[in-house]
């Protein structure tokens, strides 16, 4: 499925005039002054609680850029805590009247029936519709996206453990569309949790709480796909490269390579890389360059390798044959033939294992409770599982969970959980930079390996519970907007205490990406 982007060919580059047209520091400073951070958002500013309400009201008004619509309830309730960092989504364009089937990079499948979108007038829309979709499979992603993970059920607060979450929205001409309940989109979410204890919830941003939808919508289609991983472990690996007899009239070179990546090359004595000059003319001046890096890649023809040399911004690639001289050719061919025979055997075993795995998948799906799935949904999940099996998904996810999208927004396969079982203690968080107490509106606790986030308000820290048998990570955002964390070793110091101070490490500097944030969190 093609994602939503234009591909332009041979577009005229920017001219010096184009650049100078935009480069105007005075205008830039005017724009900067017009939208620079309001004073209460600047680091170090602190105000008493008596005026917070007023400030929030004014801040909401002033934070709206000219010409931009005010923040929707969704953005207010789901707000990434780190400015400028969010979980990226993928945009797809579909024909509303025709529907489509989309595959997300995790292996999830989105089945869009005909007329799945309603316009402002409640009627199905025609033409191109843009679908924006993203998934959340770990605590760090959920935190980065600012998705609340507490659930109020009849006045009791629970903390969610997720088996996979998704956000889907649809747009036409910049306007949001509604889901057509008569023609719902179905999503088979590739979940990394193979436990059947979860419910489906929809995030109701108006009520500011999760809505329980039903228990069985997220149906565990195939419980044991571990054979897929086993099949991957028995992969045949790349086809060995056949050596050729060196032609002394052609240019060749030798370079160091990783013997683990190219074991057959390591076995060929006197190996050289002979340039295919018909495809990549050899530049003899390259011999004099002291290259920083040489990279070898197998080509799809199975016979040649591309060697790419790099020095600073200079890069040169040559398509090469693996050659040995006459003296070593017979031994090299013998080595190649032995390796090729082993490759063919492994390939046959792999195909056989995949077929057995596929048969098992089919049997598992057949055993599924078909009464609880529409025919379309069952076919959808089966197709998704087959698709993942065929492409050899890199992920260890085991199950597909089915969501029937009645409204656009955030959907979650969740299990409400209580705080970790432990004796409560009164906890005070200390800023490692200045040894002052940290006051943060939310403190997050995660047990590594468990996809749950326990969210503590300042008041709840008076009875903090943390299962110290687990490897825990705790973090919060400091008043000056920095990420402060405590790792398992720091949390282990709380053992057997009724009252404790926990010193947090504060990340210094700008966090610029979800990946970096996850790294700082240690997740």
């Amino acid at each position: 499925m093609e994602t939503n982007k234009n591909i332009n060919r041979n577009r005229e580059p920017l001219t010096p005039e184009d650049i100078e047209q935009g480069r105007n520091f005075d205008q830039f400073m005017q724009a900067y002054n017009a939208q620079k951070l309001p004073f209460w958002k600047k680091p170090g500013f602190y105000i008493g609680s008596a005026v917070i309400g007023t400030v929030i009201a004014v801040g909401t008004y002033m934070a709206v850029a000219p010409g931009e619509k005010p923040a929707s309830p969704e953005t207010a309730f789901v707000k990434p805590p780190l400015p400028g960092i969010d979980v990226r989504d993928t945009a797809y364009t579909v024909n509303a009247a025709a529907g489509d089937t989309l595959t997300y990079h995790t292996g999830s499948l989105l089945i869009i029936p005909q007329n799945a979108f309603l316009g402002e007038n409640g009627q199905p829309v025609n033409g191109a519709v843009e679908i924006r979709y993203r998934e959340f499979h770990d605590p760090a992603s959920i935190f980065i996206a600012g998705i609340p993970m507490t659930y109020d059920s009849a006045g009791v607060q629970y903390h969610f453990e997720s088996a996979g979450m998704l956000e889907i929205t649809a747009w036409q001409n910049g306007k949001p569309l509604k889901a057509n309940p008569a023609q719902p989109i179905e999503v088979a979410l590739a979940s990394q949790t193979a436990v059947d204890k979860f419910n489906i919830y929809y995030l109701d941003t108006t009520a500011r709480n999760w809505s329980f939808i039903k228990r069985d919508t997220a149906y565990l289609i195939a419980g044991q796909l571990t054979d897929t991983a086993a099949a991957k472990a028995k992969t045949a690996g790349p086809q060995p490269i056949r050596p050729q007899l060196a032609d002394t009239k052609r240019p060749s070179f030798s370079i160091d390579f990783d013997p683990l990546e190219f074991p057959e090359l390591n076995a060929y004595k006197g190996l050289r890389f002979e340039v295919d000059e018909a495809r990549t003319p050899y530049n003899r001046a390259d011999r004099k360059i002291q290259w920083d890096d040489a990279r070898i890649a197998r080509n799809s023809d199975g016979r040649t390798l591309t060697v790419t040399f790099t020095k600073d911004t200079l890069q040169r690639s040559y398509i090469t044959y693996v050659v040995v001289d006459n003296r070593n050719y017979a031994a090299a061919m013998k080595e190649y033939e032995a390796r090729f025979a082993a490759y063919e055997t492994a390939l046959g075993r792999k195909i056989s294992t995949q077929q057995a795995t596929q048969q098992k998948l089919d049997e598992n799906v057949d055993r599924a409770d078909k009464k609880r799935l529409s025919a379309n949904a069952l076919a959808l999940c089966l197709a998704a599982i087959r698709s993942r099996s065929n492409v050899g998904s890199k992920q260890e996810n085991q199950t597909m969970r089915l969501f029937v999208i009645q409204d656009f927004g955030i959907w979650n396969s969740d299990c409400p959980a209580n705080l970790p079982p432990a004796e409560p203690l009164a906890l005070k968080l200390i800023d490692g930079r200045n040894k002052q107490e940290i006051t943060s509106s939310k403190v997050f606790l995660v047990e590594k390996g468990r996809n749950a986030i326990f969210t503590y308000s300042p008041a709840m820290l008076g009875a903090f519970q943390c299962n110290l048998e687990m490897e825990n990570i705790l973090w919060c955002i400091t008043p000056d907007g920095q990420l402060a964390t405590a790792d398992a070793d720091a949390l282990a110091t709380l053992k057997d205490k009724k009252k404790a101070e926990l010193t947090l490490s504060v990340h210094q500097g700008v966090l610029a990406s979800p990946e970096q944030t996850k790294s700082v969190l240690g997740l």
Partner: protein, 190 residues
């Protein structure tokens, strides 16, 4: 179109730039040398990824506003200021794509097509050209970004790593995985 420029800076250049950054922290008006030095590179970087010049001007302005607002948090740590700006630009572009305010574009010329086909181990013909376009159309935004930085803009691994805040080896690994994925898609399009 090759947007790459010299990434390496001498120690003197880094120190001089650090002094400019420090001055701009105290007085935003002194951000001018940094703005003027990097404007063309950021504009080119953004224009490569957008459909129109107007979008590129708007996004570029926002990149520098974000940079100036966050200058107090910038720490050199051996990473050139340009990498930090490119990182902000990628984040800003991602934000604008999500908000559907800016349409993502991939701009590629015939030479680059030949180079990428070469990486994929194939010759440049009308058929392989069309297959490559379909392959690129199927890549995720992050993958397109890697493709652009490495193969269209010819950035060294070190710079890609600095922009993405990963080490050089990890940048190489990502490019390697990208090529493997492209080969998979490309092969399936036969």
């Amino acid at each position: 179109m090759n947007l790459a420029s010299s990434y390496h800076q001498t120690r003197q250049q880094i120190e001089a730039e650090a002094a400019e950054i420090e001055a701009a922290r105290g007085n935003p008006a002194r951000f001018a040398p940094l703005y003027n030095r990097y404007y063309a590179r950021i504009l080119g970087f953004v224009y490569q990824r957008t459909e129109s010049k107007d979008d590129a001007y708007d996004v570029t302005q926002q990149v520098f506003i974000t940079a100036l607002e966050n200058l107090g948090k910038y720490k050199s740590q051996g990473v050139p200021f340009s990498a930090w700006l490119f990182r902000i630009a990628l984040n800003e572009l991602s934000r604008q794509y999500r908000r559907a305010k800016v349409r993502q574009a991939v701009n590629i010329d015939d030479t680059q097509v030949a180079d990428v086909l070469h990486e994929l181990g194939d010759e440049n013909t009308a058929q392989t050209d069309a297959r490559l376009m379909k392959t690129i159309a199927r890549l995720d935004p992050d993958e397109v970004s890697l493709l652009e930085m490495r193969f269209f803009e010819q950035r060294p691994f070190k710079e890609i790593g600095d922009i993405l805040e990963i080490n050089e080896a990890a940048a190489k690994a990502r490019i390697y995985r990208l090529l493997e994925r492209m080969k998979t898609i490309y092969s399936a399009l036969v």
